[in-house]
Amino acid sequence: ASTMKLASATINDVQHEWQKVFARELAERVGDEVKTEIYPASQLGPIPRMAEGVLLGTIEAFTTPTSFMTNVDPRFQAFDVPGLFKTPEDVDRAIHDADYRDHLETMFLDKGLRVIGAIYNSPTVVFTMEPVTSLADMQGLKIRTFASPMQVKPMEQLGASALPLALSEVVPQLENGGLDGLLVGMPILTAFKFYDIGKNITDLRFAEIVSVTVVNEAWFQSQSDEVKTAIIEAGRAAETEVFPWGVENVERTYKIWSDNGGTINQLSDEEQAKMEEDFAALATSLVDADPAVKAEYEKLKALVDAGGKE
């Protein structure tokens, strides 16, 4: 029997839920042939170390938003291009398309990683200390982003300053005015009780976070054929099962936000349309920088657009 450590940075969210369902599905298929151990909440270290851990095989599986894997392979950026996904259904149509899903499973094998799960996580929203209801309100704000062009460039285009601060610095800086807001997945805001710090989020509807679970391919290949098949099947079964859970979970987090006195701001329709137009132009220039990213983006975009026409 072998051990499969499943790591992630969060807890009680869709990533954790996927891991739990996966463990159950796998046990149903192979019993205790593979012993799964779930380590949520960064118990096995900060995100960059978990990413390296699964690459080197010190951790067997890692569930993470794609944006934390872009330094492993730039093609992970394709999922974060502004304007690509606007709804959970967009995500579902693209990543769960049968052909695309097969392609996704093996596309990072050259890095020694196999994708065994791909799930809808949540929308990226802007948390701000002061309400933002128009594009003018974004001007000059200091917004914490990841050090990824997919987050930095959209914020700069809106006239804000993108500051890729260390996560440990975010809360003190928000409280002390060194930072005006951050780009963040909705469930993170409620999990870390950000409503105690500020009350405003603005839903720009420009990006949905996709989470993947990658396994170390060398470890995967060391398993019996029966186990390999079971892992692949359990992963896909889990993603089918948790998709609605994930969508409801996002709705739950919006409700928790409101119940704790938080406000959800929107841009006016005209401004939203203008922003989306600008982001579309930005998306083109962002993906043009890397042909491999562009190829991936175009595949995803075609699937999203095909769905939209139905």
């Binding site: 960059p48 990413a51 390296e52 690459l55 872009t70 000059g140 990824s148 300053s161 890729p164 260390a166």
Partner: protein, 182 residues
């Protein structure tokens, strides 16, 4: 406060009290100290520039965090090696303050042997890690720096520690053979 680190009571120059530190090795550790001293001052300046840039101009120096942290990793490894050479690492050192003569030297030898084994294991582990990360060609998030560079700090550090531990073990054995005469 680093007077503390030089205090014989907490271990400095226990086995090298014969004055080996003077001479070539001393020149080398002075050079290392200047490099790390300047590096720390540079980190302080980057830190100030970064915070000022962020507060005053709303603009951070891209990758400043990574630069400072990676520099710190190199400083730690350099410090680990130099402190091992001068036997000034933080230690509890209860027994040796009572042990004298051959017993004391035997304890030092055991410590240096432990250091050698651990350092060799860590060097082996680091070599494997650095080789793999180099093959995978991962880059740091903000600077886009190949992760091989910061990770190799540990490889150099532990290789250096192995070398120093080996020298100390060799010298310790010679001393014991010589009959514990200092």
């Amino acid at each position: 406060m680093t007077d503390m680190a030089r205090d014989p009571e907490i271990g400095m120059d226990r086995a090298t009290g014969d004055g080996t530190r003077r001479g070539v090795s001393s020149g080398l550790s002075v050079a290392v100290e200047w490099v790390v001293g300047l590096a720390l001052i540079a980190i302080v300046l980057v830190n100030v520039a970064n915070a000022a840039g962020r507060y005053v101009f709303g603009r951070a120096i891209a990758g400043a965090d990574e630069l400072m942290v990676f520099a710190m990793v190199f400083i730690v490894m350099a410090g680990m090696v130099t402190a091992a050479w001068s036997a000034s690492h933080i230690a509890i050192n209860l027994l040796p303050s009572y042990a004298r003569g051959r017993t004391e030297q035997l304890l030092f030898l055991v410590q240096d042997l432990v250091a050698l084994c651990i350092a060799l294991f860590a060097t082996y582990a680091s070599l494997g890690y650095v080789t793999t990360i180099n093959r995978l060609a991962t880059k740091s998030m903000a600077l886009g720096l190949p992760m091989t560079i910061p990770h190799s700090a540990l490889l150099f550090g532990f290789a250096g520690l192995s070398l120093i531990a080996l020298i100390r073990v060799g010298r310790g054995i010679l001393r014991l053979i010589a009959g514990g005469a200092r």
